[in-house]
Symmetry: D2
Subunit: 471 residues, 4 copies
């Protein structure tokens, strides 16, 4: 999970990048950074923390130049540490001079590529899979940067939306499966790029189109040059961007996220109705689907759980045991609303089941007579290897339990999930365009590093999970 | 606007205070502090910033002892500076030893009291009105702390919920008009006090009752001693706590805030219906009333404006002008939802009108065909002198403009406010119990410092506003 | 121990104050602060830490105006905490407006004055004795500030060099005994004041004269008005300023400190010669006297102990025990120089004897054949109550042991101190002008708070030490 | 200029490393860092700043394990930035796992090696020449670390004392010319390594011997294995370590530095006597030689210039011009001592001449009748390429001016330098063992990267200076 932003040939580039990242903050809160270039030097500032805290007027003043790229990071592969913050900057990478890189996604053959590179004498200063790309680029024998990039990216597999900043150009890349979103827009005559269109809205940019899967876009001055350089047998747009990850006001894969979520609620109500008094979302993720569910079912909607928005990064535990403390730090039930009511709780996923169980218990303790749980997507069976931070297969409760068993575990009076066809209907796409591996276990890319004998799915996943940890 | 919390005779006092303040963070984000006492020494830590940032394990370890009080501050009177953070601590105040004080509210005769005290040689180290109380207390000739406090508080006028920590006791006071809420609860056998009950919920405390208007409660060890020491001709509970300030999951003045807000929406829909396609709240303040309005009017509810929750304290402006930038930093319209729709925007107040005007314009630019604005309380005519941070009378658009004029200024197709009787019905009270001065200009306490000649209301207000600034 | 600096009517006042404090850093490294005034407002910045760290360009820019005072603090009375950093600033102290105060020295009747003030209802926010002065000033009934100050200072006893900054004036005061130094100079046509003339040297100011004992100097614009307002039966200039505290390049009480220290070494060599191979100073305090001793005795001088100048405020101890670790952190012997030599170690004092004992042992372990210790002043018998931070009488080894006993304890082959007449000769003064209480136990001011029965010296001291602690 | 420290198989390794670095602080104040290893993981903490500020108890607790290496840095090659702080840590460098490196010295063929490595696809994350070593190491095909290291170091030229930390071993290397010092000691049965023996003194370690030029020492557990792996035609110990850089209490190249400096003063007095009244050192660098000069010449020694030890990293300039401000921030003359005197100023070098000129003027302004300057080494003609931070040849006043011209420029009544034979006598060595390139321009290593045509010395230097800047 990460957000990336770029702007080419703008008089206020680093400030615009700052605003863009600010709008993409929900995609990663661990670290953030901006690199800018004035045609001669590349300037970089990155640090752990929020966009609003990391950048000051002074810092932005030092990020000179008309081109800039930025990143907000939530760790997937690699440790959570300052050293893995992006942009990654390398000095004099062959004849391209200094190059800065930001990456949204996750490479699935980073481990074997890194092993090969290390055998060839490459040394790594981070555990990030993104560093592999720069090593390959540095070793390319191609004549120019675009060719070198095409040659490099032909070797990597997985999800990658990239922005590269050189001393005089900005390059955008989207992997050929199109896992993650990347959009192209225009403001004040300058090209802008962002993971989500909400970044365009804030800076007053106009949305033009998506960067196409497999496309490499090179911007130098006012020029924009596009090459369809990378190819894949199928598309694999991450459906979870619509379910949870993107902001509701963003246009993602050409469709407004809010619209998808509202429809998920409507279809969920059609598929799994329940006789109840109140539809209550688990805020903030369940709100949009809950409104759809309420409208479809005509059961009144109410904010029966109030979220505390001031949650800090770490929380100081009391010495004495407090009931439901873990969830109460974020959510508090409104007793008067819930007392004596049959409640439908709406959320967008059940991962391990432990938090859902606590919330159901807390809602019941607050007086609810019945608690029915409805989830606005299918059961999460399999981990994501393309950039969403999910637990291992073993930890996913739905990988080893039926819906009935889960309902029992979380102590819900009933539990239902949106069906996969229902979900695909909600995002208004063809099923074949999307990656739904987390719901089906069918991964759109072969695990190329594996031998024939390893093909049994579970073994594969175990190996993959291990390799990600080792990296 | 401030939040206060206290706990007496608990084995984990400072950690509990930290949790309580964390739940009261919405009442003030400027500074926060805790004082604790171990029966011998008083320990204090206070700083600008959020509860989650200001306190660490290490800091809480140093805040030893079984009694603790805490404060979250949003400046009303006094500068916004480190020096005005609370608790205020004074050393060896007569024979009571060290005393720490937190204060929610605002004194209306602080200026004249301070002038008198300075004439008598008192020296002030802050500009906070709360320091006046400690000076009066230090000068009291009474034999014991309770009597001294009663004598002191008989001299001050205005809104004051106070918690005082001495080396061996904790004292809670609520002014006789009962302007601000203060609640008494119990956890693990220890008494707790908090501005709102959401602080009790987080720590698992049980709500007992309100501290009564005019009551002084003294806790020493397990003992609780209550005196009804202060008297006023009438009650004046701040109705704005239900309209905006308190958290919806809190019980305030004995009533769940969410319930009041939901009713405000219902009554508003009854009083001021409109033919429209969509009810859209201005998040977060307008959400609860919008749901009530939608349910009453059967017009569908939708989150047509998305709020960015990562807003920092200061915002770095771009050099280039961005349309609607000021509101877009916080709110982004969902174009697909709004396009072609007749929209009812719900909010809880219009102050200067400038922000409302920007939002209406932005919603229209996002495609709305009509924009109707509905406000869940009456027009704000007059400033608050009892602890809510409002602009001066001159700046309040409703003080000098009719509803029609305001509608025209904010460019709404129609504008309506909830009526005062409607509001009072929503909070389920008798009108006479509440302070509604911000809607009526009828202040429940005479401006005692004014001479007869100054009685003209406007002149009075001007003087008061000036005096607050001078302090 | 503190350093103070003031400048009146200068276009670059706060920057000059910053430089002055920087030159006075040796007088106190705990905290530092500057207040400036632009004729209307008083601006203040103070913090724990070194001058070079506490002030930045930005901070100095905010300290506007043509008058400024500053302080470097080493705690004497009062806790070591942020709250005791100076300037102390009080708002609207009667009709004088905001007043800022810095104080070098120590009041000996602060305890009883504070008790009286508290009985009258004064409240204190620090434990600093200097706050007492502002309370008295606030309570004065005098017509103007000069009279109020004279009235106030007639009540306090002890050592006090003060600088006060009001909105439009700067006032300097030196106590009538003249305990601490305070000098008047001129730079760019503006008056400057500093504890030591090394501050004048750095800013290029010319030394004019000392502020006289008992003098109050008021500067307003270009005007300087002087009053000899305070009287005392005798002078009591602190001789220890010449022995240790002042910088050698300063002129203090009208005489260059380096000259005094050199003479101390010469006279010490005349009074207490020893047959030896090497004169080795304990750096930095013993260096000047050691050079004098070497020149007089014709025994070669050598830096046989090297000082580490990078000592931090706190030191992280190793888990394993390291021999002589406590002194080695600061001092390292040069073995090749010391091996087989008869060494004369020169220092300026023996306080508890423990450090001296460690150094003597370390020098012997480094190979010295004999270690003779010579001290450039008489034995320290009694604590200082006038602003030098000394341990209690009980802790001073010379208060209860003969020179022979001390020599034995510190394991020196011989030990000798400079005689009191020798010391007085070295500072080229009349004995009667100086306070030599630390060497004689004869305090120049009566302990006024004591009753007749308490007059026995030891009892007095015990009480005083206790009172200082209680404060 | 850097200091390095290592310790193998000690129960308190990181704390010992912290103390060792603290004693080596004078060798570099820009940044510092420690890496430790517990046999499994490598832990690192590094930051800009002083040893005493960068490391806390908490930080040292996290630096677990029995092996540790540390570094204090003063930038030579490479930018002054956080990214160039050492240890440099690289992850999984072939089969050696994580490797941390610290480096004292400077490689003279780093530029051409880097160019070659970049052509081969290596990417660099810093501008430090030390990173080159790790790249070569990663590319070695040798079977084991010792062989790989020997193979690697055969390719680099220049000055390098290295410490490498792997997961289970610690390796020390000294270049075959022996430019920089590196010493081996023992404490609590564990081996320790340090640039100077003053680090051994602080931790109570015993000095064993120097690491030999060309020696690689591998420590694993209690084992120590030594290989004489690197060879050079001649020794080239940096004579400037004795003149200026090392601490006087250190044993460097087997000789106590203080002894050398004292002799420099004596021989300087023999070679260049002058009829004068006072020998005054420029503190701190000139002190040791000044004492020798005074003893030899029988002219009295005096601290006529007082140094301020509280100088911060940056200095805030006053707006008004202050005479001699640049030097006065560090040095203040004692007027009374200097007035009317013929003064011999002793220092250890004249670099650009500008500071010396200011000091001579300031001493004269303080009253000196004559100012004679004596320098305790020969004129500095040529820059150092082996790790001492010197200006370019053009900036060195002695590279283009005679002693007479320099005397005139700095306005001294006379000027004399120590002769090269005199200096070599003072360090008690054979001339052929030392690098004296800064005084002679004869560099002990050929500039291998240069073509035959470039051999003209000046051209070479220009190219080198340029290459260092480009890197």
């Amino acid at each position: 999970m990460c957000g990336i932003f770029g702007i080419a040939n703008h008089s206020d580039a680093s400030r615009m990048a700052h605003l863009g990242l600010y709008a993409l903050q929900h995609r990663g809160q661990e670290s953030t950074g901006i690199s800018s270039s004035d045609g001669d030097q590349v300037f970089t500032h990155k640090s752990m923390g929020y966009v609003a805290d990391v950048f000051s007027e002074d810092v932005l003043k030092r990020l000179k130049g008309r081109n800039a790229i930025g990143h907000t990071r939530y760790s997937t592969a690699g440790d959570s540490s300052e050293g893995n913050a992006q942009p990654i900057v390398v000095k004099s990478i062959r004849n391209y001079g200094t190059v800065a890189l930001v990456h949204n996604g996750n490479l699935i053959n980073a481990f074997s590529l890194r092993e090969r590179l290390e055998r060839q004498g490459a040394i790594f200063q981070s555990t990030s899979d993104s560093e592999v790309i720069l090593h390959l680029l540095a070793r390319s024998e191609a004549d120019n940067l675009l060719d070198a990039l095409a040659e490099t990216l032909a070797q990597v597999q997985g999800a990658f939306c990239l922005l590269l900043l050189t001393q005089d150009s900005l390059i955008a890349v989207r992997d050929p499966n199109g896992f993650r979103p990347l959009n192209l827009g225009k403001v004040d005559g300058s090209y802008v790029l962002a993971s989500e269109t909400c970044a365009f809205d804030l800076i007053g940019a106009t949305y033009i189109r998506e960067v196409e899967p497999g496309e490499i876009v090179l911007m130098r001055g006012d020029d924009l040059q596009s090459v369809k350089a990378l190819h894949a047998p199928r598309l694999a747009k991450c459906i979870f961007e619509h379910v949870y990850f993107s902001r509701p006001d963003s246009v993602v894969f050409g469709r407004t996220v809010q619209t998808s979520r509202d429809l998920m609620g409507h279809i969920l109500a059609q598929e799994s109705p329940v006789d109840a008094d109140l539809v209550v979302p688990i805020p903030d993720s369940g709100v949009a689907a809950a409104i759809g569910y309420s409208q479809e079912s005509r059961i009144p909607f109410a904010f029966g759980l109030i979220r505390n928005h001031y949650v800090g990064r770490t929380f100081i535990e009391p010495k004495t045991k407090i009931r439901h403390f873990g969830v109460k730090v974020k959510l508090n039930p409104v007793k008067e609303l819930l007392t004596g009511k049959r409640v439908v709780l709406i959320d967008d996923s059940i991962v391990r089941g432990t938090t859902s169980r606590k919330i159901v218990k807390m809602v019941r303790a607050a007086g609810a007579k019945e608690v029915h749980v409805r989830i606005s997507c299918p059961p999460t069976l399999s981990p994501c290897f393309y950039g969403i931070d999910t637990p291992t297969k073993k930890e996913l409760i739905a990988s080893s339990h039926t819906v009935e068993e889960i309902a029992k575990y979380i102590e819900a009076d009933s539990l239902a999930y949106l069906s996969l066809p229902g979900l695909i209907r909600a995002v208004a796409g063809k099923g074949s365009e999307f990656c739904t591996a987390c719901y089906t276990g069918q991964y759109p890319i072969d695990f190329v590093d594996m031998t024939a004998d390893d093909k049994a799915e579970d073994r594969q996943l175990d190996l993959w999970e291990a390799s990600l940890k080792e990296t």
